[in-house]
C-alpha cells in the first residue's frame, strides 16, 4: 500500500467516522426534542451507571462510616459562596440527612446504586440471552419443537414472578450457606464487614439475585421474542434466504436476530426497571443483598418506625428507586415509539 493509498483510506475512514458522529448527534438531538421524558430516562441510565462505577469517589463518607453525635440530622441545603467550591456544606450538615446511627444518607444512596446497577444490568443481560435463545428456537423451528418449548414456558409463567423469585432466592441462599454459589464458603460466613467500598464481597448474594431474576423474568420475555420472530419469519426475504440455500444458523443470526433487535432493546429497558423494583422489594423484605447498603434495605427495619418523625429517611431511598424506574419505563416507552410501534400497550413493571 502506497502512502497515497493510506492517506486516502485514512481520510475516507475519517470522513466515515465523522459522518457517523454527526448522524449520532443529530439522531440523539431529535430524540431529546421529540421524547424529552425518554431522554430523561437515558440520562438516568447513564447517571446511575456512572455513580455506580465511581461511587467510592462520589460518596462523601466511606462505607459504614458513621458520625457519632450527628444521628438523625435532617437534610440541609448547601450554601452558595463565590469562589471554589461553589457549594459548601457545614461540618455537621448533610445534603440528604443522616440515619439513626449517624450514617450519611447521600453516601448510602450512592453506594446503593452499585447494587441497583449491577442487578439491573446483569438481569437484563441474562434475560436477553435466555429469552433470545428460547424465543428464537421456538419461533423459528415451529411445529413440535415450538409446542414442547411452549409447554415449558407455560409452567414458567404459572407463578407470580415474586413468589418464584423469593422461593428460589431463599433456597439458593440456604444452599449457599453450605458452600454452593459462594464457592466453598457461605455468603453469611464469607463476606467481611470491612470488605471495601465495592460490591465484590457481596458477589455470592448478588449472583443469586441476578440469576434468579434473570431466569424468572425470561419466561415472559421469551414469549414476546417468539412473537417477534414469527412476525419476521413471514417476510419474503427469509424465504429468499432459504431458497438460496442459507443454513439455519445463518438465517437466525444474520437475518432474524438483527430484525428482532428493536423488540429486544425495548424489552430490555422495561425489564431494567422491573429488575430494580424487584431487587428493592427483596432487600426490603430482607432476603436480597443484605451485606451492602441497598435502596430497598434503607426503607426497611427501623426506618419504618422512625419515618413518622423523620420523613426524609424513607423519602430519600424511595425517590431514588422511583426516579430510576420511572426513567427506565419512560425510556422504554420512547424507544418503543421510535423503534417498534407494534409493541404499544405491552407495559412492564407493576411487579413490586
Amino acid at each position: 500500500m502506497t502512502a497515497v493509498d493510506t492517506a486516502i483510506s485514512s481520510q475516507f475512514q475519517d470522513r466515515q467516522s465523522r459522518n457517523f458522529l454527526v448522524r449520532a448527534a443529530s439522531v440523539s438531538k431529535r430524540f431529546v426534542q421529540r421524547k424529552p421524558l425518554g431522554a430523561f430516562g437515558a440520562f438516568m441510565l447513564v447517571l446511575i451507571l456512572t455513580v455506580a462505577i465511581f461511587s467510592p469517589l462520589i460518596a462523601r463518607d466511606g462505607l459504614r462510616e458513621s458520625h457519632v453525635g450527628d444521628q438523625l440530622q435532617g437534610p440541609s441545603l448547601p450554601s452558595f459562596n463565590f469562589g471554589w467550591p461553589l457549594l459548601t456544606l457545614g461540618e455537621n450538615e448533610y445534603l440528604l440527612g443522616t440515619d439513626s446511627i449517624g450514617q450519611d444518607l447521600y453516601s448510602r444512596v450512592v453506594y446503593g446504586s452499585q447494587i441497583a446497577a449491577l442487578v439491573g444490568v446483569g438481569t437484563v443481560m441474562l434475560v436477553g440471552f435466555i429469552s433470545i435463545t428460547v424465543g428464537m428456537t421456538s419461533g423459528y423451528f415451529g411445529g413440535r419443537t415450538d409446542f414442547i418449548i411452549q409447554r415449558f414456558v407455560d409452567v414458567w409463567l404459572s407463578f407470580p414472578a415474586i413468589f418464584l423469585i423469593l422461593t428460589l432466592v431463599a433456597v439458593l441462599q440456604t444452599a449457599g450457606n453450605f458452600g454452593f454459589l459462594g464457592f466453598g464458603r457461605g455468603p453469611e460466613i464469607g463476606p467481611q464487614p470491612d470488605g471495601g467500598p465495592w460490591f465484590w464481597h457481596t458477589y455470592a448474594r448478588t449472583t443469586i439475585v441476578v440469576v434468579v431474576l434473570g431466569v424468572v423474568l425470561a419466561g415472559g420475555a421469551s414469549r414476546i421474542v417468539r412473537a417477534a420472530v414469527l412476525g419476521v419469519k413471514g417476510i419474503p426475504y427469509i424465504d429468499a434466504a432459504v431458497v438460496i440455500g442459507s443454513s439455519s444458523p445463518r438465517i437466525l443470526f444474520r437475518h432474524i436476530l438483527p430484525n428482532i433487535m428493536p423488540t429486544v432493546i425495548v424489552l430490555a429497558s422495561v425489564q431494567l426497571g422491573a429488575a430494580i423494583i424487584i431487587e428493592a422489594t427483596l432487600s426490603f423484605l430482607g432476603v436480597g443483598v443484605t451485606n451492602f447498603p441497598t435502596w430497598g434495605q434503607m426503607l426497611s427495619g427501623q426506618t419504618r418506625t422512625l419515618m413518622q418523625q423523620h420523613m426524609y429517611l424513607g423519602l430519600v431511598p424511595g425517590i431514588a428507586i422511583f426516579l430510576a424506574v420511572f426513567g427506565f419505563n419512560m425510556l422504554g416507552d420512547a424507544l418503543r415509539d421510535v423503534l417498534d410501534p407494534r409493541l404499544r400497550g405491552a407495559g412492564g413493571g407493576g411487579l413490586g
Binding site: 409447554r151 415449558f152 407455560d154 409452567v155 404459572s158 407463578f159 407470580p160 414472578a161 415474586i162 413468589f163 418464584l164 423469593l166 422461593t167 428460589l168 431463599a170 433456597v171 439458593l172 440456604t174 444452599a175 450457606n177 453450605f178 458452600g179 454452593f180 426497571g273 423494583i277 428493592a280 422489594t281 426490603f284 423484605l285 432476603v287 430497598g296 426503607l299 426506618t303 419504618r304 419515618m307 413518622q308 418523625q309 420523613m311 424513607g314 423519602l315 431511598p317 424511595g318 428507586i321 422511583f322 424506574v325 420511572f326 419505563n329 419512560m330 416507552d333 404499544r344 400497550g345 407495559g347 412492564g348 413493571g349 407493576g350 411487579l351 413490586g352
Partner: protein, 380 residues
Amino acid sequence: MSQYILRRLLLMIPTLLGVSLLVTGMLRLMPGDAVDIMVTEFATSGGNQEFRLLVDHVLEAEGKVAAEAGFSERLAIEKQIITDELAKDGIDYETTTVAIRLEAKNVLALGALKDRIRQRLGVDKPYIAQWWEWVTNAVRGDFGEKITGGQSVSQEMRSRLPASFQLGIMAMIFGAFVAIPVGVISAVKQDGPLDYIGRGGAIAMLALPSFFVATLVIAGAGRWMGYSFPIFYQKLWEDPSVNLQIMVPPAIILGFILAGTLMRITRAQMLEVLRQDYIRTAQAKGLVQRKVVMGHAVRNALLPVVTIIGLQVPILIGGSLVLEQIFFIPGIARYLFASILARDFPSIIAINMVIATLIVFTNLLVDILYGVLDPRVKLQ
C-alpha cells in the same frame, strides 16, 4: 367451543404436573442433605424443644404420662440419655465438663429432629416416588404438615385464603374504577393536557414500589392525622370496621398498581375503536359526542379490557406479598414469606402449587370469556 375447552383442560394436566415437579424439585436444588440444611437453620431455637420431646418419648416408653412427670424425674432421664450417648464414644459422664454435656445434648436433639423431619418429608425415598406420593396426596387436598408444627398445611391455607381473596377483589374493583374512566378520558382527549396527566400518572404508578407507598401512607397518617392502623386482623363478618381499616389502604395501593397497566390498555383500545368507521358514522348522523363515546366506543373497547383484568391475577398476588407484610394481613402471601423464613418446605411447595393452579385456571377462564364476549375471536 366445548372441544376447545376440553383440549385446553387436557393441556393443563402436563402443565400442572410440570409445575409440581418444579416446586417439589426445588428441595433437590440444594447440595447435600436437604434435611441437614433445614435443621441447622433452626437448630438454635429448636434444640431444647426437640430434647424435651425426646424425654417425653422415653417417659411414654416407660408407660408414664409425659405431662405429669416431675422436674427431677425428667432431669434423671435427661442425664441417662446423655450418659448413654457419651458412653457410645467411650466417655464417662462423670468426668466430662458442662460444655461437653451440652454439646452431646445438642447432637442428640439435632439427630432426633432430623429423624422426625425425614419421616415427615419422606425424603429417604427416591425423588420420583416422593413426587408421586406428594401429587396423589395433593389431589386429595392433603399437603402434609408444617415443619414448624401446629396445623396441617391445608388447614392453615384455608384459614388464610379469605383475607387474600378479599384484598384481591377489593383491589381489582378499585383498580378498574380508577383505570377505565381515566383511560377513556385520556383517549378521547388524545394529546391534550388531561391525556398527558393520565399517561404520566399511569407510568408513575408502575414506577412506585408498593412498599414505599405503603410505608409513606402509614407514616403520613401517623404524623399528620395522628392515626395509627390497627395491627390485629379481624375477619370481615366479625368486625367489619377494623377489617376495613386494615384492608382499604392496601387495596387502594394495590388497585393503583393494577390501574397503571389497565389504564394504558384501556386507552390503546379506545384509540383503536375511535378510529373505526362506525364511530365516524355515529358522529356523522349527528349523535352527541358523549353518546358516541359512551354508547358506541366504550362498550366495544372494554371487551378486551375486562379479560385483561383476569390476566392481572399474578400481579395481584405478587403485589399483595409486601402489602400483607406491612399491614399485618394474615393472607396467603404472608404465609409464604413466613414459611420461606422458617424454611418450611411443605408449606412453600403447597402454596406455590395452589397459586400456580389458580393462575392456570384463570388464564383458561380469560380465554374462554374472550371468545364468549367477542364472537369474532375463533377459539381453536
